[in-house]
Amino acid sequence: MNPLLEREKGLLELERRIEDLRSASEGKRIDMSAEIASLESKYRQVLAELFGSLTPWEKVHMARHPRRPTALDYIAGFDAFDELHGDRMSRDDSAIVGGFARLGGHSIVAIGQQRGRDMKENLARNFGMSTPEGYRKGERLALLAERFNLPLVTFVDTKGADPGILSEEHAQSEAIASSLEVFAGLKVPTLCVVIGEGGSGGALALAIADRVLMLEHSVYSVASPEGCAAILWGDASKAEEAAAHLKLTAADLRGFGIIDEIIPEPLGGAHRDPEGTVTRVLDRVGALLDVLETYSLRELLDARYEKYRHLGSWRDAVAGSDGAT
C-alpha cells in the first residue's frame, strides 16, 4: 500500500549495519572507519537513487509521512509565537492553529493547518480536516492581520475540509467561500507554504496568497487521489492511478504558474531532517517577506489579482489563440 515503506526498508537495513559497525568499533582496537565510510557512501548513493525521482503516488505518501514536520513544527521555529483561539462564536477548531509571531525582523500573523502526529492527536485535531468553525477562525485571524497591519503567513497541510454532518449543517461551503474572499482581498502581504498535503478547497481556503511556496515533496491537488478515484471511477482504491493523472507535484504546479517557488527537501524527505527543513523554510519565508515589503499595497493587490486572473488553460476560438498559463 505505502510505496515509501518499501523503499525505506532497504535504507533502514543499511542504517542498522552502519550503526552496528560503529558500536562494534567503539572502544575496540580494530579500526573499521574505512568500512563505515564505504557503507555511508553506499547509503548516500542508495538514498539519492531512491528519492531522486519519486512517483506522484510516492510523493503523496511523503507528504503524509507521520514524521514529516507539521505546522506547529514550523511555528515552533518562529522567534516568538502568541497563539490566539476561536471563531468568536462557537468553537476553537484545533485543526487550525494561529496567532501572532515574530520571524527575524518581521512581526506577522501565522495560521497553520495542523494534523496529528499520532493517532491520539489526529483524533483531537480531526486529522487536520477543518470544520466551518476552523475556517471562520482562520478568516478571523487573517482579518486580524489586516487590523494589526501585519503580513500573513499560512502553512497548508490537510487532506481536505471536514466532510461530516455537522460541518455541512454549519455551512462548510459558506465558510470556505468566505475565507477565499477574505484571502483574495486581504490588505497586507500574504505568503503561503504548502508543507504537506494540500487537499482541494479545504487547502485553497488558506492558500490564496501573494507568494505560494511548496516543499519539494509536498502535494497539492484538486482532490485527494482517493477522492478523485472515487469521483471518476467509483473506486477509491485506484488512488495511485489518479495520483499519476492529477499533476499534483510541486514541479507540475510550478509549471502551471499555480505556485511561485519550490523549497528543496533533504534527500529522503523532510522528516529525515526536520530541523533543517524548518530552518530552510523559515529562512525562505523571511526572505520573501523582505521582498513583499518592497511593494505598495496597491501593487500587491493588483499583482495578486493578475496572478489568479490568468490561471487556467483554454482555447480561445475567437482570438484563435490558447488561453493563459
Binding site: 466532510p163 454532518i165 493523472h245 499555480i258 482570438a319
Partner: protein, 287 residues
C-alpha cells in the same frame, strides 16, 4: 425571436419520438416533453423540478435577446488526461449529447426590464463541473458586469471542480472569487440561484459569496457529496439532508423559490438593486 435564442431551441428538433416522453423520477407520471418544457421542466403533477438546460433557463428568464459573451472560450487539455477515454473525447461526447460546448453560458440580457449579467451553468455537460472554461467565462462575465455597472446573477449547477483539469480547475475558485470581490467593491450586487445539484468547488466559492442566495425547491446543495459523508459516518443520511429546504432552516440561504416564481422574484430583487444604484448615482452627482 433573436438568433441566440433560436439557436438554443433548434436543438430540440433532432430528438427522436421516443425521447418525447419522460417519466417523472419523483411521482412516476409519464410526461410529454413539449408539455414539460412549456411548464419550465416542472412536473405538472408533483412539481418535481427537472434539471434545466442552460438555454431553456435563459429563455425562461430574459425579456428579449441575450448577448452571449466568452463563447469563444473553449476547453483545452492541459493535463493530457486519459483514463477510459481521453478528456477531449469526453468533452466531445458531452457536447454531442448536451448541445453545449461547455458547462456554462454567460452573457447580458434583461429580466423584467432590468439589465443584468447572467451566467447559467448546465449539469448536462460534464456534470456542471468547473474547469478553466467555466472559470474564465464566469470571470469575464463578472468583470464585464463590474465594467458596465450591472448586477450579476449566476445560476449554479455543478458537481464541483473538474478532475480532468486538476489544480487548474481548483484555481478557478480563486479566480472567480477575485472577480466577485471587484464586483462587490464597485457597489454592484451579486445574486446566485442554486439549482440541483450545487456542490464542491462551486458551492464553496461564488455560489456562497453572493449577497442574495436563492435556491430552487428541493435542489441538493452541499460541500461534500452525500456518498462521501455516508462513508465517513458509516450510516445513511436522512433524505432531506442537503436539500434547499434543509439549508433554509439552517439559515444558509435567503430563500427557496419555485421555478415558476423565479423570474418574478429576480425581477423584484433586481428592482431593489436598481433603486440602490440610483441612490448611488444621485450621491455621486451631488458630491
Amino acid at each position: 425571436m433573436a438568433d441566440w435564442l433560436r439557436g438554443g431551441r433548434n436543438r430540440d428538433k433532432v430528438r427522436d419520438d421516443a425521447a418525447q416522453w419522460v417519466k417523472c423520477p419523483s411521482c412516476g407520471e409519464v410526461l410529454y416533453r413539449p408539455d414539460l418544457s412549456a411548464n419550465l421542466d416542472v412536473c405538472a403533477r408533483c412539481s418535481h423540478h427537472f434539471r434545466m438546460r442552460a438555454h431553456d433557463r435563459i429563455l425562461s428568464l430574459v425579456d428579449g435577446d441575450f448577448e452571449e459573451i466568452a463563447r469563444g472560450v473553449l476547453p483545452a487539455d492541459p493535463l493530457g488526461w486519459t483514463d477510459k477515454k481521453s478528456y477531449p473525447q469526453k468533452l466531445a461526447a458531452d457536447a454531442e449529447k448536451s448541445g453545449m460546448d461547455e458547462a456554462v453560458l454567460c452573457g447580458f440580457g434583461s429580466i423584467g426590464g432590468h439589465e443584468v449579467a447572467l451566467g447559467v451553468m448546465d449539469f448536462h455537460f460534464r456534470g456542471g463541473t468547473m474547469g478553466s472554461v467555466v472559470g474564465e467565462r464566469l470571470t469575464r462575465l463578472i468583470e464585464a458586469a463590474t465594467a458596465r455597472q450591472l448586477p450579476c446573477t449566476i445560476f449554479t449547477a455543478s458537481g464541483g471542480a473538474r478532475m480532468e483539469e486538476g489544480m487548474l480547475a481548483l484555481m478557478q475558485m480563486a479566480k472567480t472569487t477575485a472577480a466577485v470581490l471587484r464586483l462587490k467593491a464597485s457597489g454592484e450586487p451579486f445574486i446566485t440561484v442554486l439549482t440541483d445539484p450545487t456542490t464542491g468547488g462551486v458551492s464553496a466559492s461564488f455560489a456562497f459569496q453572493a449577497d442574495v442566495i436563492l435556491a430552487e425547491r428541493n435542489a441538493m446543495i452541499g460541500f461534500a457529496g452525500r456518498r462521501v459523508i455516508e462513508q465517513t459516518i458509516r450510516q445513511r443520511l436522512p433524505d432531506r439532508f442537503q436539500t434547499a429546504e434543509f439549508l433554509l432552516e439552517r439559515g444558509h440561504i435567503d430563500g427557496v423559490v419555485e421555478r415558476a416564481n423565479l423570474k418574478s422574484t429576480l425581477e423584484r430583487i433586481l428592482g431593489y438593486a436598481r433603486a440602490g444604484r440610483e441612490r448611488r448615482k444621485r450621491a455621486e452627482l451631488s458630491a
